[in-house]
Point group: C2
Chain length 331, copies 2
């Protein structure tokens, strides 16, 4: 009934439990004969080692915990891909958890993750208060993605939103646009940096900035455009805070009888799968998501192995992906 243990395998193979342990961990100091016997016995019994007992006994863990604030956001899926590959290459297992964007749920999720005593944790865009992060960081290495922190026990990996915002502006300016508005992401993670990038780039080109407050949703993007239309202040180009917002903006423009990009150009941010759809084909700023995941895993493993004690602050370069929603301004 119960699953077989090392003891069972040892008995069947006619060796000691300790030897089975050595075989399971691939130790070189086991004779071929015994190794084969143990492996056969394990095979026959359907034995596989008990990760928890192992980590309890060895006082080490080969598990990395990942808490995702929002599983619905495909952005994280790609980050996790990169992270997962990197972790597995280094012999670590990854377990994932979700906090569903709620601070209370995230707190529980984090506690639950910590109860497995992983070697370290990665928090993807957490909304949990920083006190919770610092108390976690007191126990094990912590890496933050898409959220900054000044804690010295914590590494961070972010994309350079300022650069991304500037990339969008520069592209539009090079097409000949001069009246460019920014649909602002408000409280959204990273929106401050994107806004600053927009402002700096506009100032750099000697152009007047125009910020419309909005949010990371398509409905908000549409609303922002309607406000601009109602005020009679529609510019020739829009830099949206993210792809969803950009798509909402495009639909509001089309509903108003305007054509994108003939009448108005629109740039998104994130290069989500949505932006790549032919039906949408959005010019957007791409974050190197896979790379973000790899770097997060790498930073964490450096800490885990004690190779580094000072905090790492990674800032990755975004790039522009030009598709069909940008063109020179009319006339």
């Amino acid at each position: 009934m119960g699953r077989p243990t090392m003891e069972d395998v040892a008995r069947r193979a006619g060796v000691s439990r300790a030897l089975v342990s050595l075989v399971m961990r691939g130790s070189p100091k086991v004779s071929q004969t015994r190794r084969a016997a143990v492996q056969r016995a394990a095979q026959e019994l359907g034995y596989s080692p008990h990760a928890m007992a192992r980590s309890l006994a060895s006082r080490t863990s080969t598990v990395l915990g990942v808490m995702v604030s929002d599983l619905h956001n495909p952005f994280f899926a790609e980050v996790i891909d990169g992270l997962d590959v990197m972790a597995r290459e280094q012999g670590f297992d990854v377990i994932i958890n979700t906090g569903g964007r709620s601070p209370a749920r995230e707190r529980r999720a984090l506690t639950s993750l910590l109860s497995f005593r992983p070697a370290g944790v990665v928090l993807l865009s957490p909304v949990v208060p920083s006190a919770a992060i610092s108390s976690a960081a007191a126990q094990l290495p912590v890496v933050l993605v898409a959220r900054s922190s000044r804690l010295s026990g914590v590494d961070t990996v972010n994309d350079d939103g300022e650069q991304g915002g500037a990339l969008a502006v520069d592209h539009l300016v090079s097409l000949g646009h001069r009246r460019i508005a920014h649909l602002d992401g408000g409280e959204g993670s990273g929106s401050g940096a994107r806004r600053r990038g927009y402002l700096t780039a506009m100032a750099g080109h000697g152009l007047p900035a125009r910020i419309v407050s909005s949010e990371y949703t398509d409905a908000a993007g549409a609303r922002a455009v309607r406000e601009l239309l109602a005020a009679g202040e529609l510019p020739t180009a829009l830099v949206a805070c993210n792809d969803l917002n950009a798509v909402g903006a495009v639909s509001a423009l089309e509903e108003a009888g305007l054509r994108v990009p003939r009448d108005v150009s629109v740039v998104g941010y994130d290069n989500t799968a949505l932006a790549a759809l032919r039906h949408v084909s959005l010019t957007t700023v791409d974050q190197p998501r896979n790379e973000i995941g790899r770097l997060a895993a790498e930073s964490l493993l450096q800490r885990v192995r004690g190779e580094r004690a000072h905090p790492a602050r990674h800032l990755l370069h975004p790039s522009l992906v030009v598709r069909s929603t940008t063109a020179p301004p009319p006339d």
Copy 2:
């Protein structure tokens, strides 16, 4: 340096380790005084129980393992939401893993999940060979979502694709359509049932069926429409195998100068967030994803508690969400 243990808490509170254990598990047979003392000591030391040691000692687990074939598909995010809520209500923790659509990676992911000795596992649309599933099922309760199985140790939760396919056809017929084609999902999970639903419903209305082979991507949807156009056989309505495919079909129609839904109606499947975007506003078949997750958790917990031994086969009813891509046929 090391994290505090029960022993530390016990010493600090001036009680035995066993009493701390009772307090941690919320046992009623502890006096108020001692309980308070223990809780204070735990608080001061920043103690939290070691889940692995606990499950090792108690020979039980309060962990449910979830393996997701593809984290990029937002469909699973909602299933996990439902599952997670249900599991937490019942005092279980959820850990997630991903197999990235590759049988080899899924196998590793499954092994890794099992090494935590969870109370049971849920496999979301796994592509792993059924031998791996049955060997897992020999060790613990297994629930399959979006994949069927005849194994008696395995429960399954699926949406009724036949009903969904029929729902789409019935809606179009009631609008007056008679020439309705199906863009088929090929090898995609659940596409067979959707096709059968289409075929049965068409036959039921006495209409000729027309199946175009396609896939679960927007590019494939566009290609299928171009084939229909090239053959001069464009029907007045399309039942796509999923939302992505439907969006691809819509763009190809619009590229050809046709208007949706004035010239051609299109119905998707899945009711993804994409379908709800105003820019897309796709009429589609909705699967009760949250409910799927809840049912998966519920089935698993019934098995875990030994309340049921025979396999459960849940088939959930999809529903139609009418948006802006369907209308009566021209003339």
